[in-house]
Amino acid sequence: MKSRPSRRSVLAGLLGSGTAASLPGAVWAQAAPRRGGTLIVAADSEPRNLNPAIVASNGVFYVASKVIEPLAEQTYEGNGLAPRLATAWHGSPDGRSVTFTLRPDVTWHDGRPFSSADVAFSALEVWKKLQNLGRVVFKDLEAVDTPDATTAVLRFAKPTPFQLIQNALPALTAVVPKHVYEGSDINANPANTRLIGTGPFRFVEHRPGQFYRLERNPNYWDSGKPYLDAIVYRVLPDPGAVAAAIEANQIQLAAFSSVPLADLARIGRVPGVAVVTKGYEGITYQLTVEINHRRKELADVRVRRAISHAIDRKFVVDTVFLGYAETATGPVPKFDKQFHTADVTTPGFDPRRAEALLDEAGYRRGGDGVRFKLRLLPAPFFEQTRQFGDYLRQALRAVGIDAEIVRNDTPGHLRAVYTDHAFDLTVGSPVYRNDPAISTTILYQGGLPPGVPFSNQYGYNDPQMNALIAKAAETVDAGERSRIYRDFQKLAGEQQPIIHVAEFTFISVTRDRLRNVANNPRWATSNWADAWLAS
């Protein structure tokens, strides 16, 4: 029924796929995509709300991004964005509006036509009001004009940087059908678990505790795609089972490091299995030491710099992450060329300097070699945060600080740190989402109410920092905005209110049969329309 994939789409696939690391030879990357086959992948969680427009998180995107599409997706090429439901976009010079030209002839999975009314509804009722991240980015959105079915104009009450909106497009602008959600309680709508979208795959079934099943959308707007017939997500919360399943060819993809780092060396040697480190740059995680400034010792910048001097970041990358990470110097990861600057004064590994600073700050070693005691709460989110907590305890002890580890499970940790402020140091793992304003500056901004997770609950309130953050939030000129964020990084480097230790993404383990892997910076959370299985 559908024609074979066009030469153009094959070439487009080639451009993306050849860059993946440690792939066995470039020969097969040039084969023509084969239509057909069911891709079976490992999923480690079953989110209670699967709607990516409401919950912009990786666990949700992993399944939902194949069904519900954003306005644009991240790519490695060009300006970093590829059109999806929007084909073109530009911002007004005064920052008060952003105009999207939408793709024509797109239909929802239930047959109804997609139009600008859906974008308007999603933006005003979902992204702005309900979405965890959208509430921050779209807070000044006041209206969306829809002069025709393929044009949507977002209008803001205050100047909003177009650069920010652009950076937010892949993760924050999933479009949901107005005709399904209008008039209902959006949060309780059954379409949040039985998704209806415009994407290359249709949602078919979710059997709790077992699997999700998606099938090809025959009316997808990118004709010829998707290549796969179906995708099955097997629910496998246990890492050992995932590794075994890949080896036994029962699944073809284990994403998000569900195969533990310690197993990667061994599993990479199995014939037919590939370890892919690329494809997650757009979802970089940061390993941080969060500091409670209410503690007198920690309010002193010399003590904070001393703690940063005590940490051997290279050792952490090599031992805790087994090399699968980068050392970090500040709040913006190296991958983000738009904003990153290396011109910062972040303290490197120098235990002697650490001891000198602590002496200078007035905290000499006591008779037992201890200067002062701290409570350290390593976050339970990843094995690496826990292990880094163990390392940090040693590193601090070496410079005379006695850190006692307090372990909590996830809700206990969130409550202790972000509501009760019952900590001195914690190990955190915030996510960087391609623009500092989305989920990073909130870690530095002063004056926030207690109870907001993953925000500045540290008692840190610096007027200079607050001013930089506020200014960047309303600077429309992209060049100027980038410059302000470089100043932000410099100030963060001097003051070290949070200590950034490492940047890490995830690792995918795939079978060779699966092609067009990791061809964009958010591959695992993108729509896999061009993924295919060789025979």
């Binding site: 310690a262 061994r266 390392y391 580890i405």
Partner: protein
């Protein structure tokens, strides 16, 4: 004499030696392996018996397995001992009150015991430690939550039978306060059967603590054998020794405690038979 003979039969000797061995290891830990056992001092994943500086090898982060093992012995014995004390104290108090006061107090306390026995005790322990936050205290309390019912019931049964004996009436006639009679005169005679439970309680405490540590709910500031097994699990395909060694240590310790307990029971039974 017969009691001593029964105690020092084959099982008793082996048990004593094993437990003494573990105790000596625990005491000598700071001598043989000074410093912090959790320090990252070596190259990760050195195999045992290959490097004389790390006789039993190193773990994923480069910690000395022998140091961890020896210091883990301390944690194990401390938890075992503390849990035994806590369990016995709670069990004895409740058992005495139930047996001596009787009536509705007895009914209520026995229903409470039923409740604690009907509930899956390990899950209760798990929930408690998870909620209270893992620490030595919370682990000890968690272990006692499941174990107190046994000594309580045994003691209650003993007291119920002793209550009817003449010497109790004699004390009452003399005007002694009931609680005084209960705790000062009746209790000491009722204790021996409860003491026989002590070894079982210690053995159970060690195993429960190991399981809690394995699930990540052990005391994070000290080394425990269960936590070592959990650490080793991540690399159990390439370095199974990391999980095997602490497990053997647990088996040896619990075996020693059980043998010791059996021998002590035999000895006490022999003595009671003499009486």
């Amino acid at each position: 004499m017969r009691a001593a003979n029964r105690f020092f039969s084959g099982g008793g000797i082996v048990g004593t030696m094993l437990v003494a061995g573990v105790a000596i290891a625990a005491l000598l830990a700071p001598v043989v392996a000074p410093g912090d056992p959790l320090a990252l001092i070596g190259r990760p994943l050195i195999e045992p018996f290959t490097d004389w500086r790390f006789p039993l090898g190193t773990d994923r982060l480069g910690r000395d397995v022998l140091a961890e093992l020896l210091h883990g012995a301390r944690a194990t014995l401390i938890v075992g001992g503390a849990a035994m004390l806590a369990t016995l104290i709670v069990g004895i108090v409740i058992g005495t009150l139930a047996g001596f006061i009787g009536g509705t107090v007895d009914e209520a306390l026995m229903r409470l015991a039923d409740a604690f026995q009907s509930v899956p005790t390990f899950i209760l322990a798990l929930a408690f430690v998870s909620i209270a936050g893992p620490s030595l205290t919370s682990v000890v309390i968690a272990v006692s939550l499941g174990a107190w019912t046994a000594p309580a019931r045994v003691l209650r049964a003993e007291i119920l039978s002793l209550r009817r004996r003449e010497f109790v009436d004699a004390y009452r006639v003399l005007g002694m306060a009931p609680l005084h009679i209960a705790f000062r005169e009746v209790l000491p005679n009722a204790l021996p059967p409860v003491i026989t439970l002590a070894a079982v309680i210690v053995a159970n405490a060690i195993l429960v603590e190991a399981a809690l540590s394995f699930l990540g709910l052990g005391n994070p500031n000290s080394v425990t054998w269960g936590a070592m097994i959990a650490e080793g699990r991540a690399v159990f395909r390439s370095a199974p020794f990391l999980s095997a060694i602490p497990g053997v240590a647990i088996v040896v310790t619990v075996l020693g405690v059980n043998l010791l307990g059996d021998a002590a029971n035999d000895a006490i039974n022999a003595r009671q038979a003499q009486v």
